[in-house]
């Protein structure tokens, strides 16, 4: 009986917490309804398609390949990113470059985004700073898998 009364007090306390949340949030919603600006909002919701959250500067988003001044990819086809990639989603084929300073360029550079786990190891491994994940693009869902295979053109563009 006394135990039950103890529970009863705890139950009342719990309902007071939810009532407080309801009242405070409702107050801010009502203020918003009358177009009164307040610092706090009634809800923490971000209404996604219309409203977007700011992406942090170190956020790992869609990859891009950097270019040299003449427009060729900075990549020297050293295969380090291919080696380090844990989900094995990068495929690079090397070709010869006429410039003796550079020697190698990628003729094919493919990232299969349907396999990529966005770990960022390729960015860290790259000795030439040729690949980065700072485009800020996070919406690249597609209806078919083959559209998620990004080639050199798409990654540089």
């Amino acid at each position: 009986m006394i135990k039950a009364l103890g529970y009863f007090i705890a139950i009342i306390k719990g309902s007071l917490i939810t009532t407080r949340h309801f009242m405070v949030n409702m107050w801010f919603h009502t203020l918003k309804l009358f177009r009164i600006k307040t610092k706090r909002k009634g809800a923490v919701t971000i209404q996604y398609p219309e409203e977007k959250r700011k992406i942090a500067s170190r956020h790992r988003s869609l990859h891009r390949l950097l270019k040299r001044e003449d427009g060729k990819p900075r990549c020297v086809a050293c295969m380090l990113c291919v080696t380090v990639c844990p989900s094995e989603c990068i495929f690079v084929e090397a070709a010869e470059d006429p410039d003796p300073e550079v020697q190698k360029v990628p003729s094919i550079f493919i990232i299969d985004l349907s396999r990529c786990c966005f770990c960022g190891f390729c960015v860290e491994a790259c000795p030439e700073d040729a690949i980065r994940m700072d485009t800020g693009q996070i919406e690249f869902a597609e209806y078919s898998r083959d559209k998620l295979i990004y080639d050199l053109e798409k990654l540089m563009g």
Partner: protein, 359 residues
């Protein structure tokens, strides 16, 4: 002839009120839970880009449920399986006929009671109909021929029957205080004043009875703190084998029960349509002031008061549903039989002794 037309109009009005409010309770539930949890809640349903804070959501839900496949499993007992949701729905829907929405309305020399039927035993009628609703649950659980639904149905039956005892016993104290089983008479008694200023509402005369009734009634609605028949994460529940509109009927019945419990709480313990110090000819304040009002406005005040009280209790029940986790099965049974039933017996004895002492 005109008597029949008036009764027909009353039935239609009461049913429309009941169903529309119950429909919008689904919206209120979603929005209120959202506000409690710092969210926004359903606000996307729109008609031509006109969202109206999600007010079209119930209709979107209804349309979705109508167009879903109505699946009846092969192994079920077809007739009973189809009958169960309608039994469950009907016995709740019929209770609204006994609830008084207001006092007598006088139009053109005719006196219309704002209550569909004024039985002599309307309180018993409501209790009986609410208990008959159990048949819907048992039939749903049993006719689905599925072990989990059977478990849910049996649990539901056990829970509802054991709480019915506490529910009925908690009202006996009330009947001792207001010597009538007629809901309209009970509301009339609550219009009298104690010591000239305190309205004789059930909440002041029967606080313990109110508490027991409220707990038992919450268990009767079989929503979350007491949702053992459903038990979402263990046995899924007595309507597992239902889909589409029939499932919707079970869900809708829950909301109607919430509403009818709110109506009963208002009528029995919070003065029904009574506004404190409002009499048939206007306000007579205990400190001597008077504010006389025409008949129509008085009736409007009464209906408005009834509605506000009912909405408050709906709000409270939804708040409770979104605050507490579920009881364990043995805890529910303990609470029912070891706490509520003895307490209600104490309440009856105490009330009887006090009444005999007073005279």
């Amino acid at each position: 002839m005109s008597e029949w037309i008036i009764i027909l109009i009353k039935i239609i009005c009461a049913l429309v009120w009941f169903l529309v409010i119950a429909l919008y309770l689904t919206w209120v539930e979603r929005k209120e839970s959202a506000v409690i949890q710092d969210r926004i809640g359903a606000n996307r349903a729109n008609i031509w880009k006109f969202r109206a804070i999600g007010l079209f959501q119930p209709f979107a839900d209804a349309i979705k449920m109508i167009f879903k496949e109505d699946f009846t499993p092969k192994f079920s007992r077809k007739f009973l399986h189809n009958l169960a949701p309608f039994i469950s729905f009907f016995f709740v829907a019929v209770t609204i006929s006994a609830i008084p929405f207001g006092d007598v309305l006088r139009i053109g020399g005719r006196e219309i009671k704002l209550q569909v039927v004024d039985f002599n035993v309307s309180l018993l009628f409501v209790m009986a109909m609410l208990s008959l609703g159990i048949f819907g649950i048992i039939l749903a659980g049993w006719s689905s021929n599925n072990r989990y639904t059977l478990l849910g149905g049996m649990r539901g039956a056990a829970q509802l029957i054991s709480y019915e005892v506490a529910l009925g016993l908690s009202l006996i104290g009330l009947i001792l205080v207001y010597p009538s089983l007629k809901l309209s008479a009970i509301v009339h008694y609550q219009g009298e004043m104690l010591w000239g200023w305190l309205p004789k509402w059930g909440v002041f005369l029967q606080p313990l009875g109110l508490l027991i009734f409220f707990f038992a009634a919450l268990a009767e609605t079989k929503r979350v703190p007491f949702d053992l028949p459903e038990g979402e994460n263990e046995i899924v529940g007595f309507f597992t084998e239902y889909s589409g509109l029939k499932w919707g009927l079970f869900m809708f019945t829950d909301f109607m029960e919430v509403l009818i419990v709110a109506c009963l709480l208002t009528t029995l313990f919070f003065g029904g349509w009574q506004v404190p110090w409002l009499y048939a000819d206007g306000f007579h304040f205990p400190w001597g002031g008077e504010w006389l009002l025409p008949h129509g406005i008085v009736v409007a005040f009464q209906v408005l008061a009834f509605n506000l009280k009912v909405f408050f209790f709906c709000w409270l029940q939804i708040l409770i549903r979104w605050t507490y986790p579920r009881f364990r099965y043995d805890q529910v049974m303990d609470l029912g039989w070891k706490l509520l039933v003895p307490l209600s017996l104490v309440n009856i004895a105490g009330t009887a002794i006090l009444l005999s002492l007073i005279g």
